[in-house]
């Protein structure tokens, strides 16, 4: 019987694991991959104590930190979590783990546009990871779809690589951090297209263009790359019958990380209050673990 099982190994889950290890709890951290979304972040410029880093650098530091704390992430996919009162059973494709508490830190993934051509041209000029595949668009014209931080970051990353960047957003303004908006708007390579609803990705073997609708008119851009950054979807499918979710599928938590089910806690991008920031995920991971430890202590006293 474990004290806690942490599901997910992004920043929220890894932070919870550091605290669990240092509290000498009996625990496992289980995830289908190690690193979560920071694997696809470019520059990181807003993490306290770190002036400037990249997702890749951050990953190597985290890996070292896990080693230092004797934490081994189990690379397994959690299929189901069952309630066996008062405890829980976490079931993966390889086995099952009985535990007194669960920390859900399952994160989020890229949202898809849901337009024709999107699946066909995925990795064929269309990508959800600008820092991974962006450099292959060297000297080409590209379109970035989206108007928030991730889209603006993608534009900023691509500006020195590609020849021209079109950024299309359905809104009439950008919604990201001001410093990013300034960078993007002041760049002569960038063509901003507001009120544009992307309707199709065009191409033959690879992407050749993008179709969009603006003010009721059908328009088209010739581009050899399409970068989709239109937000994220929480990875909460496996717990939808276990805990309460909000309208967008995020796990409802209070400000202390409790879900509506005693013994289950949630943290990071899978949880309500999601602002998709490293610092918030780290803080929530820490909070959830400490509250889980308090929950266990409370049970012992009874």
């Amino acid at each position: 019987m474990y004290d806690t099982i942490i599901v997910g190994a992004g920043i929220a889950g890894l932070t919870a694991a550091i605290y669990a290890s240092r509290k000498r709890m009996k625990f496992e951290i289980i995830s289908s991959d190690f690193g979560g979304q920071f694997m696809v972040s470019g520059e990181v410029l807003n993490y306290p104590g770190i002036v400037n880093t990249t997702g890749a650098e951050f990953f190597s530091i985290m890996k070292e930190q896990m080693k230092f704390n004797n934490i081994n992430v189990k690379i397994e996919t959690v299929k189901k979590i069952e309630r066996i009162k008062p405890n829980f059973k976490v079931i993966t494709e390889k086995g099952s783990y009985e535990t007194k508490t669960v920390i859900l830190a399952t994160g989020a993934r890229a949202r898809k546009l849901g337009v024709p051509g999107e699946d066909k041209f995925a990795n064929k000029g269309l990508t959800y990871c600008s820092i991974c595949d962006g450099p292959l668009s060297k000297g080409k014209d590209v379109a970035v779809v989206g108007g928030g931080n991730a889209a603006l970051e993608a534009v900023d990353f691509l500006k020195d690589i590609v020849s021209k960047i079109n950024i299309l957003t359905v809104k009439d303004k950008f919604t990201g951090h001001e410093y990013l908006i300034e960078k993007v708007q002041n760049n002569p390579k960038v063509n901003v297209i507001f009120n544009a609803k992307t309707t199709e990705i065009l191409g033959d073997r690879f992407v050749k263009g993008i179709k969009y609708e603006q003010d009721g008119k059908q328009k088209q851009l010739n581009v050899q790359g399409a970068i989709i950054e239109i937000g994220r979807v929480p990875n909460t499918e496996i717990v939808k019958n276990l805990v309460e979710l909000d309208d967008h599928g995020h796990i409802q938590i209070d400000c202390q990380g409790h879900t509506k089910v005693p013994g289950i806690f949630a943290a990071g991008d899978c949880a309500s209050g999601h602002e998709y920031q490293y610092v918030i995920a780290a803080g929530q991971g820490c909070m959830a673990l400490i509250k889980a430890a308090r929950y266990l202590a409370g049970k012992k006293e009874k």
């Binding site: 690193g35 694997m39 972040s41 470019g42 990953f59 990508t127 991974c132 450099p135 292959l136 060297k138």
Partner: protein, 81 residues
């Protein structure tokens, strides 16, 4: 030893993961930066039929993305030869 090529970009975290994994397994490989080398980028696109990185070429077997299981299988095949 298997002849291994890794087509990668310097900014791609999954490429770093793939290369770290090969290093851990003490597998020698040729690291090809497709962000700089346009001919190599073209070669990678021809071989894999797509433009996502990383792409691994293990003795002619093409693996798209960082897929630990597929890498293990491809390396094992080579050992048996």
């Amino acid at each position: 030893m298997a002849k291994v090529k890794v087509y990668s970009t310097p900014t791609c975290p999954w490429c770093h993961r793939a290369k770290d994994y090969l290093k851990e397994k003490k597998v020698d490989f040729e690291d090809i930066n497709v962000a700089e080398d346009q001919d190599a980028a073209q070669e990678m696109i021809e071989k894999s039929g797509q433009m996502g990185v990383p792409v691994l070429d293990v003795d002619g077997e093409i693996i798209i993305g960082f897929d630990q299981e597929k890498i293990d299988v491809a390396l094992k095949k080579e050992k048996k030869k």
